[in-house]
Each structure stands twice: as structure tokens, then as C-alpha cells.
Symmetry: C2
């Protein structure tokens, strides 16, 4: 069984590891000690140096911590290993991995377009974006996502990924967190469209602020989309209240 | 077969009349001449005076035109008939019907919580709110909605209806029309939450501006909800961009 090092035991890590466990011998590291929770999931806990030296290495930390992490692990990463991140943006993490990781290490950017809420009934047929950078082992990993995890694998450039994600994630999380703050009520007298708004609140309301800031701050196209949305709301407000 | 006068041949009228036709002998009036379209649907076209005198009378005009309409028809309405509106708000239309219609006429406010888009696959199990005001024939109509049209009938006061609809409709249409103006793209690399946002755009993007203004302007609680939403967006924007 291939060895997989997994750095970052946040809500996504805890969610996805059970799906990976049948295929990999997994060792987890996080800056916080989650060794008990890891063992409860049936995976090993290891020091950063040990985990970073595995043949496959997953980086599941918020993007704002990625550069520091790469500086810490770059000398531990094993030659010919494959390193892949799981961040919600792709331009910045791919640039950082190229900058810090040795040239003899394969790199692939990935973004699973689901989480504990949207994947609570299983992950088959959900989307994952992949950005292959250095590709000796990448083909295997991409086939694994499609054939074993049954994900819908979409190959994109980091730039196209982030441009589209400014709508798909930055706008949706902006709206979802605002209606979550308003605590919009679930009432029986509702329309199908309102049920969709409640679904957005339900899917995104549990996400961490770290993920929210990653999606909103680390995507270079997010601010323009947020500003355009607010501008359209004000145009409508003027028409309504004139 | 009971006679039904139907005033207002807009997109909702055209949508709902085929569902009513098996149970009523329908005559339609609109300020615009849609007599050809009405005959194509298999219903009669009549003058305002004739249509207003039927045993059942449906008012399916934008709320902003309702007062003028009631002034025009109040002397044509038949004693012991039942008049019901189909507006998206309830406080104002119910007040106007009570103010202008003779005391010997039954009145019920209704709000079908669906339209041509959300009801394109049928209306069974969708919601309709009813506000009984004068109730001799109302029980029959309410039973008809539930038993024949298979709608989920919710009895509410006009005030509670409008308070909840400030979220259910005013907020959702405000968001839906803004993302429709932005023309947010449907892309393959999407999340379940973004698909819900696209569904909101699809369900509401085709609605008329008359309906939009009814929902936003004629609901006394809508402005506060819109303003609260914009305020929450600005709080988030400050946190993101600090």
C-alpha cells in the first residue's frame, strides 16, 4: 500500500481521510495535537519531518499558512515523491509549491469542490479540479480520483480556476455567510427559490472562517465580483426606492 | 360548472388558467387584448363588466394597479360572489378588497408561492397561502386548492404572511435579480451551493419587473430585510479587506 503523508487535520482533512484510507497507508500531522482523533479514524499520527517524507504528500492547510509550511518541509520532502495541495484557490498555492519544492518532486494542485456539508451523502460524482504542474505520478493520482473515488475530474489552469471560482465560491460564500449572519428563518410558507437560499446557508454556514478568508482574500478575482454584486444591489435598491 | 371571472392575463394568469379550466367555466379580461391567446387556451374573453359579475372572481393584477381596478369593478361584482386576489403580498390587497368590495361579497386573499418557472414540472405539493376574510364560500375554495390542485394550503394572517415573505421573496428576488444582472456564468467546475445560486437566478430571472416591484415595494417589511442584508455584506467586506 502506498504511503501518504497528510498535513492539516481540519474539518476537510477529517472528512476526506476515511475516503482515502482504503487505498493509502496514511500518517497525519497538524500543528495542533489531534493524535487521539487520528487514531479513532484508524490512521497514524507522525511528526512533521516524518509525514513530509512520504511518497505521496497532501497539504490541507489554509492558504495563508502554506508558505510557512513549505519553508518548513522543503528539506524533508522525498525525491520523486508527489506533493499535492487541497486549497480552494490555485494560482497562489501552485506558485508557492513551484517556488519552494525541489525540482525532483512532482507537484499537482487540486481543489475538491465539496466539503463536509455538500458531501454529507457521499462524494461520488462531485467535482474536483486538478492543475498538473510536474506530472510523473500525476496521471496515477488523477485516475485515482476518477476511478476509485468516482469524482468528476476537471483539468484547469490555476488562472482559469481562480477566475471561475470568484463566482462559484467567493460570491456564493459571501451571500451564504451574510444570510447566515441574518439567521434567515426556515418557514413552511416558502418558495423553491427560498429553499435554495436556505440550502446555500446550510451548506456554507458551518465552514470555518479560515476557509472563508482563503476563498475571499486569496483569490485575485474575488474582490471585483463582490464589488460588482454590491453595485447591482444598489442599482436595484435605487429603482425600488425611487 | 361554476363560472369564474379572471382579471389579469399576465404570465401567472397564462400559467395557472390551464390548471383551473377543468373545474370552472372561465372568462378572462385584461386591459390589453389577449383574446386570441385566451381562445387558444380554450377559455372565453369578456368585457370587464361581464367578467367582474361572475360567481367566482380572481384578481391577478400587479398590486400597484389593484386599487384602481377595485374602484372600476365594485359596482359590477355580484352579491354573494367570492372575490380572491393572487398577489405576492397580502396586507395591502386584503385592506383594499375590504375597503372597496360590497359587504355581501365574500373575500379571500391568496398567494400561490410558485410561478411559471418553479411550477414548470407541475404544481402538486407546492405552497399556497390563504388569508380568509369573509368566509361563506371560502371553505370550498380552500378545499379545492388542496384536494383538486393538490397544493399545500397554509392559512396565515396578512401580517404574518408579509413578515415572512420579506425573507422568502423580497430577499431572494433581490439576490436573484442582482446575480441575473451580473449574468453569473454556468460553468462545469461548480459546487452544490453555486448550483443553488444558479437555480435562484433561473427561477426568478424570467419574472416581470411588475412582480419584482410588487414584492419589494408593496411589502411593508421588505426594505428592512434588504438593508439588513446589505449591512451584513459590508460587515463581511470590512473583515475580508481589513
Amino acid at each position: 500500500m502506498k504511503e501518504l503523508g497528510f498535513i492539516g487535520f481540519g474539518s476537510f482533512g477529517k472528512f476526506i481521510i476515511p475516503y482515502l484510507k482504503p487505498y493509502f497507508d496514511i500518517t497525519v500531522f497538524d500543528v495542533k495535537d489531534f493524535s487521539t482523533e487520528a487514531k479513532a479514524l484508524g490512521v497514524k499520527w507522525g511528526a512533521l519531518e516524518e509525514v513530509s517524507g512520504k511518497e505521496f504528500l497532501a497539504l490541507a492547510v489554509p492558504v495563508q499558512y502554506l508558505e510557512d509550511l513549505l519553508i518548513q518541509i522543503k528539506d524533508f520532502v522525498r525525491p520523486k515523491s508527489l506533493v499535492f495541495d487541497l486549497s480552494s484557490v490555485k494560482v497562489k498555492p501552485v506558485e508557492l509549491m513551484i517556488k519552494y519544492l525541489p525540482e525532483n518532486v512532482d507537484i499537482i494542485g487540486t481543489h475538491p469542490l465539496f466539503g463536509p456539508q455538500s458531501g454529507k451523502n457521499g462524494i461520488a460524482d462531485l467535482n474536483i479540479v486538478v492543475c498538473p504542474v510536474r506530472t510523473k505520478k500525476n496521471g496515477n493520482l488523477i485516475r485515482f480520483f476518477g476511478q476509485e473515488l468516482k469524482l468528476n475530474v476537471l483539468e484547469r489552469t490555476p488562472l482559469v480556476h481562480d477566475q471561475q471560482m470568484a463566482y462559484v465560491q467567493a460570491l456564493t460564500h459571501f451571500i451564504g455567510r451574510a444570510v447566515n449572519q441574518m439567521d434567515i428563518p426556515d418557514v413552511e410558507q416558502k418558495t423553491p427559490a427560498y429553499q435554495f437560499l436556505l440550502n446555500i446557508k446550510g451548506n456554507l454556514g458551518q465552514d470555518s472562517m479560515d476557509l472563508f478568508y482563503t476563498i475571499e482574500r486569496e483569490n485575485p478575482f474575488a474582490k471585483a465580483v463582490r464589488d460588482q454584486f454590491i453595485e447591482e444591489l444598489y442599482k436595484l435598491k435605487d429603482k425600488i426606492e425611487c
